[in-house]
């Protein structure tokens, strides 16, 4: 026993020695890339967008519009209609009629073909959508180009194929559609979340009233254009931009039969409460505070890449972000050193630049929330580590950040920050790691890094989380069910499990 301890001590000592010897990384001019901006000329923006109801863009009965901006420059991109109660009512009625008269009567194979059309059109227009997504949301073009848009396409393509195979997914049951689905989506993956919601709903024969997030309505509105181009029967998809009030109208509309919500746990709880006793169906995909656990026997360089991807992907605006790093004590110093070096090389700036790693924070309000929590981390005594990159003068920006010396009781270890901020904690034994990882009301995702297979199975099976990445992080696929345990919500999206939320079984 004592040998083990002294072994460990000597390992730590050696690690400290290496750290002390480790010279600061000096790249000189090697990392100065010339700007490589994706051109915007392929995107045609309207000055003013209406609501998409009954297959047409119509002016809002609310008579209200709001400006949607580019968070990287704070410049206005367009005016967008805001749906009020009367607009929601019109959209729901249109969706109900479309369900009754067209969509639910269509042969399932034909329904599938419409969804295939949407997938193909989106694929054809992927560059337009990638640029638009980065313009409106602030995410790096390499992410919108390589992750958001291809995955959105894949979701439509995957679910199109389910339309005529639902009986195979639910053997021993009669399967029918539910009716009008109200779907409320967040601003972090605007088009992808629209695809996650629309594709299974349509494949199962439902019609939809979709409310995109207040700050990122544009790709959903351009998706509505694709619905027109695909000759989707009018009313099958309706898109109503707006803020929380619009969402509340959708949730409370008596003719909506199902609500699917992705967003904060606080709002999710309000919706769950509001729907009590109404008989409406509900699925919730809410917040997270995922633990990313690195064991001493992990491939450390790969783990560092996984940590970076886990928390700095999409500026940390990811519900399943690996926002709590749990690193085994023996390798903590090494990992922290490598992490500090790595974030120094992350390129923050113009989201449309193809070299950009970290884009703009989605909104002023979100930036304020990140700043507040980071200030709280400092105040509570954690040590702040921040990349010293230059922040553009205009727009909303926050540098890649991590905290060491974090206690489990710190707000930065408990609350979802939804920004590029990582809380680093340490552990000694696998049991301690599991205990700390599960010490949260959330349960959306988790990460485990070790080269030992038996340890992977042991630890992943103990994580109280809906998605567990072993030796990887932030991977998504339409065939793979996604969703939370505990206060991260209920229901799954993707895979055969995701269909359950959109069918009525008898």
């Amino acid at each position: 026993m004592s040998t083990t301890i002294s072994d460990k001590e000597s390992r730590e000592k050696a690690a400290r020695h290496v750290e002390a010897e480790r010279p600061a990384l000096e790249f000189g001019a090697a990392w100065d890339y010339a700007p490589a901006p994706e051109s915007k000329d392929h995107v045609r923006l309207e000055e003013r967008y209406g609501l998409f109801i009954g297959g047409r863009f119509v002016p809002p009965r609310s008579r209200k519009h709001f400006a949607t901006i580019n968070p990287a420059t704070e410049e206005k991109l367009a005016d967008v209609a805001e749906a009020g109660a009367a607009d929601v009512d019109a959209a729901v009625r249109s969706a109900e009629e479309a369900h009754r008269k067209r969509w639910s009567r269509l042969s399932p194979a034909e329904r599938g073909k419409y969804i295939y059309r949407i997938a193909r059109l989106l694929q054809e227009k992927s560059r337009e959508f990638a640029v638009l997504e980065s313009l409106n949301g602030g995410k790096p073009i390499k992410e919108s180009r390589d992750v958001d848009i291809p995955l959105a396409v894949a979701h439509f393509f995957y679910h199109a194929g389910w339309a005529d195979k639902l009986a195979y997914a639910f053997p021993r049951h009669g399967v029918s559609s539910i009716g009008v689905c109200g779907q409320i989506i967040p601003w972090n993956f605007p088009l992808l979340m629209a695809a996650w919601k629309l594709a299974p709903a349509l494949a199962c024969g439902n019609t939809v009233v979709l409310k995109p997030a207040e700050t990122t309505p544009l790709t959903a509105l351009h998706l509505a254009r694709i619905c027109q181009e695909a000759d989707l029967p009018p009313g099958v998809v309706n898109v109503l931009p707006g803020a929380g009030e619009t969402g509340a109208h959708v949730v409370n509309h008596p003719r909506v039969r199902k609500i699917a919500f992705t967003g904060s746990t606080d709002v999710g709880k309000l919706i769950q409460r509001a729907l009590a006793g109404t008989g409406k169906r509900l699925t919730l995909e809410l917040g997270g505070k995922a633990a990313n656990i690195v064991f001493e026997d992990a491939a450390l360089d790969q783990a560092v890449e996984g940590i970076v991807n886990g928390i700095y992907f999409n500026q940390g605006h990811v519900c399943c972000a690996g926002s709590r790093l749990l690193v085994q004590e023996s390798v903590a110093e090494t990992i922290i050193g490598k992490l500090a070096d790595r974030i120094a090389t992350l390129r923050l700036g113009d989201p449309l630049d193809k070299n950009t790693d970290v884009g703009a924070i989605n909104s002023k309000a979100q930036l304020a929330k990140i700043r507040e929590l980071v200030a709280c981390g400092v105040e509570e005594g954690a040590a702040l580590h921040q990349a010293s990159c230059r922040l553009p003068e205009k727009g909303f920006w926050f540098p890649p950040t991590f905290f060491t010396g974090v206690a489990q009781s710190h707000r930065i270890a408990r609350e979802e920050i939804f920004g590029p901020v990582l809380a680093v904690m340490t552990f000694r034994t696998p049991e301690e790691a599991i205990e700390k990882a599960n010490n949260t009301p959330y349960g959306l995702s988790a990460g485990v890094w070790t080269d030992k297979g038996s340890k992977i199975f042991q630890v992943t099976s103990k994580m109280r989380a809906g998605v567990v990445w072993a030796n990887t992080f932030n991977k998504f696929d339409p065939t793979s069910p996604f969703g939370g345990y505990k206060e991260s919500g209920f229901g799954r999206e993707g895979g055969v499990h995701g269909l359950r939320a959109y069918v009525e079984l008898s």
Binding site: T472, T479, F490
Partner: protein, 290 residues
């Protein structure tokens, strides 16, 4: 001098919490009367504290129970059927006395409860294969989904049929590794509390199934508002109470399943869907490569 006396020994009906038979900490009781309004017994009128203690025991027992092999869980459920079979006559008598059932009806309910136990015993090592998937993702990863227990599940048991209803909701919850806190039939609690003796002698670890008798109106809100209960099976059959449960459940995003089962004897009152409702799908990814 008679060596054999006639006076019968009456049973004290207690709560079943953490594998122990306990009196309510509140010291309160409710009289339970027969269909003919005769006093059958005084049962514990469980309190909020009893409920909290039961939830604590259920939480403590959950990981260990979930960690037992599916084979063992199946054997334990089958053992419960054996124990109930051995006491079928006394359960039938309880049902006759409490609900005024005919001997045939009472016997039929006990038989159905035994059959239900056997049905779910057989599910323990099969539901995972039917609910799990290997997902053909487009990138170079091995990706699979398995059902896991939701955690601690509160059950509001139906008033009638008290025995079959309890068994029908308890089995699908515990067979997948959840632990349960049950508020038993308020009007007819005796067979449910007697079932605790079956549970206690079936190698079911203490804390896996906890049975509380008392007044639903008083107890249910504490169950649905408790932060360490993950889900509720609401078979109480009271619309107002159901709405309150659904509202209160939002406090920690509890999963709520409301049951309105017309015929507990039907084949539709059992099966995979009842198990699936109280499982969570976990998806695990791992890279494929060298």
């Amino acid at each position: 001098m008679a060596f054999v006396t006639d006076l019968d020994i009456r049973k004290t009906y207690k709560l079943y919490v953490g594998g122990e038979f306990i009196r309510t900490e509140s010291g309160r009781y409710d009289p339970v009367r027969s269909a003919k309004k005769e006093l059958l017994a005084n049962v514990s009128r469980g309190s909020r504290k009893d409920l909290r203690e039961a939830i604590r025991k259920a939480r403590a027992a959950q990981p260990g129970w979930a960690g037992k092999s599916a084979y063992l869980k199946g054997q334990i459920l089958y053992r419960m059927a054996e124990m109930l079979e051995g006491r079928a006559d006394s359960f039938a008598k309880l049902l006759r006395d409490a609900r005024g059932l005919s001997p045939a009806s009472a016997g039929r309910e006990v038989r159905a409860a035994i059959d239900r136990l056997v049905h779910y015993a057989g599910w323990s090592d099969k539901y995972g294969a039917l609910l799990g998937t290997v997902n053909p993702v487009a990138s170079s990863y091995f990706d699979f989904s398995v059902p896991e227990p939701t955690g601690v599940v509160g059950i509001v048991a139906p008033e009638r049929p008290d025995l079959l209803g309890l068994v029908s909701h308890l089995c699908p919850v515990v067979v997948s590794g959840n632990t349960a806190v049950v508020i038993v039939s308020e009007e007819h609690p005796l067979a449910s509390l007697e079932l605790a003796e079956v549970l206690a002698t079936s190698d079911l670890p203490g804390g896996v199934a906890n049975l509380i008798s008392g007044r639903k109106e008083e107890l249910v809100p504490h169950l649905s508002r408790h932060m360490d209960v993950n889900a509720i099976a609401d078979a109480g059959g009271d619309a107002a109470l159901s709405k309150a449960i659904a509202e209160d459940a939002a406090v920690n995003v509890k999963r709520v399943k409301r049951y309105a089962i017309g015929d507990y004897f039907s084949e539709k009152a059992q099966g995979l869907d009842f198990i699936e409702t109280f499982t969570e799908t976990k998806t695990t990814w791992h890279p494929i490569g060298v």
